[in-house]
């Protein structure tokens, strides 16, 4: 840990630090202040709303009478409102902010047309609000990940187009001759998403394709929202913050390039694994399974690259909140991706498909990986936008432990419950395969439901823990924005003081 981090040294492997660049960087940060602040504040708001919807739906799964008389809050709607609030509200707002903040920094270009971004952000949030209101009111399309009613989606698309146009402008005005891998990911994500979204909206909602082709489009879109939008943004953030906080370059530039292209090639075929055994052509299912399996390459390559960057610096996890969240996210990315590949195996999908196991997997990816990385990024970005520090290290600590323990409990609990559910659902066929049972009578369906109830209850407890973390985060966030600069200390807010100040660069 002898390396002395500076703001610039790991920004770009080719740059050397000097004060001119440091000044330039703070100018860039200052130019991003208002749009970034608006997006992040909206993100935190949606996080709380989405968490509330999550708790309600989780309680309903084991206590169906809870709020049972309100049509607006019936399970099918409130669960959908949860998904849309945390996906399009929290995650997309946060990823917009992180993406363009990174883009401005890495392109070494001050943010031009900040107004454009603010307009886009306002449109986006109006769109999400209208969409979620529509879902609760009963206008959901019932297409997974595309539930927002038709009167909300054009607004979202418009907002998105503005953000994309802005990113290309910034990239083109960039001064840096080198394109860092984070920029590859962000540019790719910004290009892929509107393509996916417009094709899916047209072929499912506006001019529906024939029969189960819709299902193929649906899962081509829905899996790629994760794989080609959230994953690239999350990885871009890891690739930036990991070396940045540690003050040393990424382990291998070469590996990061392999990781990028293998992800680009394989991920976008993987979505069909959601339809294994379904009424769609078997060859396309097989292609999806193969692609899901090939995802092992980018995942392992990226894991090696991140791990080798961390080697020798694990001690820094004790001090830096950003690093701790980012590393938790990076490890989760590896594990959940490998789990995802295994879930595509036909005989394993036979058990886990249609069960809570899939729900656990989805949260492992979207929460333990993506959301944790966004938390880490926000802890880094906010002090640079506001030029003041996080008010409370304790709250950060509560945030980390509540969410980290909460999501681990969530995933473990629901995975076990899901496998039990799957095995019970699939008797007697599976029982025969394993030679466990002779008879041909299936386990009564209601018994498969009853067997999952304890796990669903534990999911609610895990959810409460995660909620505590979110409240701590939100309090810290609002407190930070609200308090005046004069009263603040100037050192970064760390979990504890490191022995030598220069080893951390929170």
């Amino acid at each position: 840990m002898a390396s002395v981090p500076t703001l610039v040294s790991s920004l770009n492997p080719a740059t050397t630090s000097d004060d001119v660049k440091r000044a330039e960087l703070s100018e860039i940060d200052a130019s991003t202040k208002w749009p970034a602040l608006f997006l992040l504040a909206s993100a935190v708001g949606w996080l709380l709303i989405g968490t509330l919807f999550a708790l309600i739906s989780s309680f309903k799964m084991h206590s169906p009478d809870f709020l049972g008389n309100y049509e607006w809050l019936t399970f099918g709607r409130v669960r959908t409102a949860h998904l849309n609030a945390v996906t399009y509200g929290w995650s997309v707002n946060a990823s917009f902010a992180v993406a363009f903040w990174l883009m401005a920094r890495l392109s070494r270009s001050v943010l031009r047309h900040a107004g454009l971004l603010i307009v886009a952000a306002v449109f986006w949030n109006i769109g999400v609000t209208v969409g979620i209101f529509g879902i609760l009111a009963g206008d959901s399309t019932s297409i997974e990940w595309l539930e927002m009613p038709v009167y909300a989606t054009p607004l979202l698309f418009l907002a998105y187009a503005l953000v994309g146009a802005w990113a290309v402008i910034t990239f083109r005005f960039g001064k840096s001759p080198h394109i860092y891998v984070s920029q590859w990911y962000i540019l790719a994500a910004l290009f892929w998403f509107p393509w996916l979204y417009s094709v899916a909206e047209i072929m499912i909602i506006f001019a529906p394709a024939g029969g189960t082709v819709q299902a193929l489009v649906n899962w081509w879109f829905a899996h790629n929202v994760l794989g080609l939008w959230f994953t690239p943004i999350g990885l871009a953030a890891i690739y930036y913050f990991l070396p940045k906080v540690l003050g040393k370059p990424i382990h291998s530039y070469y590996l990061s390039v392999i990781g990028f292209w293998s992800l680009a090639i394989f991920y976008n075929w993987a979505g069909v694994h959601h339809l294994i055994g379904g009424p769609v052509p078997v060859w396309v299912q097989s292609a999806g399974i193969a692609a899901s399996f090939m995802m092992i390459i980018p995942v392992i390559v990226t894991a090696i690259n991140h791990h080798m960057t961390m080697v020798g610096s694990f001690g820094a996890l004790k001090y830096s909140p950003t690093l701790r969240f980012i590393v938790f996210g990076a490890v989760s990315y590896t594990l959940t991706s490998l789990q995802g590949s295994s879930m595509a195996i036909r005989s394993w999908a036979e058990v886990t498909h249609f069960t809570h196991y899939t729900v656990a997997h989805a949260h492992w990816g979207m929460y333990a990986f993506f959301t944790m990385v966004m938390f880490g990024s926000i802890y880094y970005i906010m002090p640079r936008l506001l030029l003041k520090e996080w008010p409370s290290a304790k709250l950060i600590s509560v945030h980390f432990w509540a969410t980290a323990v909460g999501i681990t409990l969530y995933v473990a609990d629901l995975s076990i419950g899901g496998v039990i559910q799957g095995l019970l659902l699939n008797t007697p066929v599976l029982a025969h395969k394993f030679g466990l049972q002779q008879g041909t009578d299936p386990v009564p369906f209601l018994d498969t439901v009853k067997a999952t109830i304890p796990y669903l209850k534990w999911r609610s407890y895990a959810g409460i823990l995660i909620t505590i973390g979110h409240v701590a985060f939100a309090v810290n966030f609002v407190w930070m924005v609200a308090r005046s600069v004069q009263t603040t200390k100037t050192e970064p807010t760390l979990f504890r003081s490191p022995p030598e100040m220069e080893v951390t660069a929170q």
């Binding site: 206008d139 019932s142 394109i179 072929m203 075929w269 809570h356």
Partner: protein, 221 residues
């Protein structure tokens, strides 16, 4: 060296690849699959969803039933769908060609509903089940849908649609009141009692079935 155009080309081609393979090829391949005309019956299968049921499907969509109920039956030997009586055969692409919105679903918190009309033909069962699932299925975690019913004062003749006489004691309304399904409730039940794929298409006739171990015979492990 400015490699941006090259990177962009790669970014474009990768998604173009799956878009072509998953979306375009399949849309061309079976996106305009036609119904099968049965000359003996003079009917084309799959049948068009009747009007009331079609409106019920919209209720099914707006309540989010899909998040707990799938509508696809897996082939014999893969899962226990057939053994559970969820269908006589596996679902095939042709079953869905008349549907403007395909609701395959990915979750089975509740049972598959593709052939619910073949199992529960009685609308009254569905009304009781919707009013409170505990009546028909104790221990279920399906929410009650009492908001699909209206408790109202009996004016003149009691409604023939009233269901309170079938409800257990604790659900009884005040004397002089009756519980009737709303229009949305009626439509939803009409949809459910219309849901079945029983017609045997050419492609459903020759399906490989994994041989089952013979009953009564000791299986060696």
């Amino acid at each position: 060296m400015n490699r941006a155009p090259l990177i962009f080309l790669g970014i474009f081609l990768t998604l173009a690849f799956s878009w072509t393979g998953i979306v375009l090829v399949n849309q061309i391949g079976y996106g305009s699959l036609k119904p099968v005309y049965n000359e003996d019956e003079g009917t084309a299968y799959p049948l068009q969803t009747p009007g009331l049921a079609a409106r019920g499907k919209l209720v099914y969509e707006d309540l989010g039933c899909i998040y707990c109920h799938s509508q696809q039956v897996r082939r014999p030997g893969y899962g226990s769908d057939i053994e559970r009586g969820w269908g006589e055969r596996q679902s095939v692409a042709r079953d869905y060609i008349r549907e403007r919105r395909v609701l395959l679903g990915t979750m089975r918190t509740g049972p598959d509903l593709r052939n619910i009309a073949a199992r529960q033909t009685d609308p009254t069962w569905h009304y009781l089940h919707f009013y409170d699932p505990q009546i028909t299925s104790p221990g279920s975690n399906m929410p009650p849908f009492k908001f699909l019913f209206e408790t109202r004062k009996v004016v003149g003749q009691p409604s023939p649609k009233a269901i309170q006489s079938k409800l257990p004691e604790k659900y009884q309304p005040k004397p002089g009141y009756e519980i009737v399904p709303t229009e949305r409730g009626e439509n939803l039940v009409a949809y459910l009692v219309s849901l079945k794929d029983t017609y045997a298409y050419p492609e459903t006739k020759n399906v490989y079935v994994e041989p089952k171990p013979e009953a009564g015979k000791e299986e060696k492990k």
